[in-house]
Symmetry: C2
Subunit: 194 residues, 2 copies
DNA sequence: CGCGACGTTGATTTGCCTCAACGATTGTGG
DNA sequence: CCACAATCGTTGAGGCAAATCAACGTCGCG
């Protein structure tokens, strides 16, 4: 059981001694998931945050016409969850799926509260994580309001440089908010002009 | 100087004794701003969070064609800021403007760090605020990806029931992501069909 | 009053979607 | 290892939601 990647993630924002690290590890759970495996489905109750050690996950919603819209990709060292369900204790509105064979760490809401009670510094850690994520979602929202599909694609490439290849085009399309057909046309146009 | 509305806001998530409340108040600054007054402009360095006591603020960006896109409205008891600039210490990408004569409370980043050092419970408070805001921005992002302008307008009415009238239509349009002209047509169609 | 900001309405254009047909690639069982 | 199906990407024709551009009415305010 190796938690070094999550330890490094935590160490970016708060400093812990060995005893605190051990306590933290005691609240974590390792898990391997296969490509295409669903980790969370709409209607479930989300009880965990997921930290990706290896592989890649995605969170998405399905609209009333059956189309998927991707909220987040989670490559290694990213956190992912259905925060709405996690905080409100209501059924999920998101689905979370592994898009590669992945190793993830589960951290339950229950254990998170234990951790806050025992080591209040972690309030700070998760505050900072939430703030950073908030800033990036705000930026993406403004991008969706003001940019064309082509510009949003450029932004995507900057935001997830490690993903641009190896990732199915339909997922990129579902992230930037266009149909796979349109994305394909757009992409071939970009290639032609360069 | 009356801080009762911000105290109530804080009390929703953490409990404070009188001494702590006094310390907190010592870090706050009251300010009156007039309708149409700019509180923050693109390129400034954002040093404060703003809590609205009375009136209403909006945060928005201006795209390369000169069009405004509204990120948030802040009616009474809401927080608003340019979090990107605040956290990164880089120049603002947002503008913040008062859309009515308003009373606001300024809380500087510097004082926020003092507060965290003195009363760590506040880490929890701002974690919760950030998480709630994150959930709501994620939801809005998914709405923009999956809903029509008309459905987004319905959502807007639910989210900001206190604003629906008294607010210029062009601001609603800039929030849901359509032109004022299209919004006007849409609105008259809705009225006709009901 | 007269000006400027706002809202309305119409004609036209366009970015992106829909639907459909067809290759290419992947994966799976025989 | 091949045959086949399923999934994915490509391409084209046509359609629609929303943008653009322009003209005009209306209101609040100096």
């Amino acid at each position: 059981m190796n938690f070094s990647s999550i330890d490094q993630n935590v160490a970016k924002h708060i400093a812990l001694n060995q005893e605190e690290i051990d306590f933290f590890h005691g609240l974590l759970q390792h898990k391997k998931v296969k490509r295409k495996q669903m980790i969370l489905q709409e209607g479930d109750f989300c009880k965990d945050s997921f930290f990706v050690v290896e592989g890649c996950l995605r969170s998405f919603s399905i609209d009333k016409n059956g189309f998927e819209h991707i909220l987040n990709f989670a490559p290694p060292n990213w956190w992912i969850s259905d925060l709405y369900s996690l905080f409100s204790q209501k059924p999920c509105i998101l689905n979370i799926e592994s898009i590669e064979n992945s190793q993830i760490i589960l951290f339950s809401r229950e254990n998170q509260e234990k951790l806050f009670a025992e080591i209040p510094k972690f309030e700070r850690f998760f505050r900072i994580i939430a703030e950073k994520s908030l800033v990036s979602h705000q930026q993406r929202l403004l991008d969706n309001l003001s940019l064309t599909a082509e510009e949003r694609y450029e932004n995507f490439c900057k935001r997830y440089p490690s993903l641009i290849d190896g990732l199915a085009q339909k997922y990129i399309a579902a992230y930037i908010g266009v149909t796979p057909e349109f994305f394909s046309k757009m992409r071939s146009k970009i290639l032609r002009n360069s």
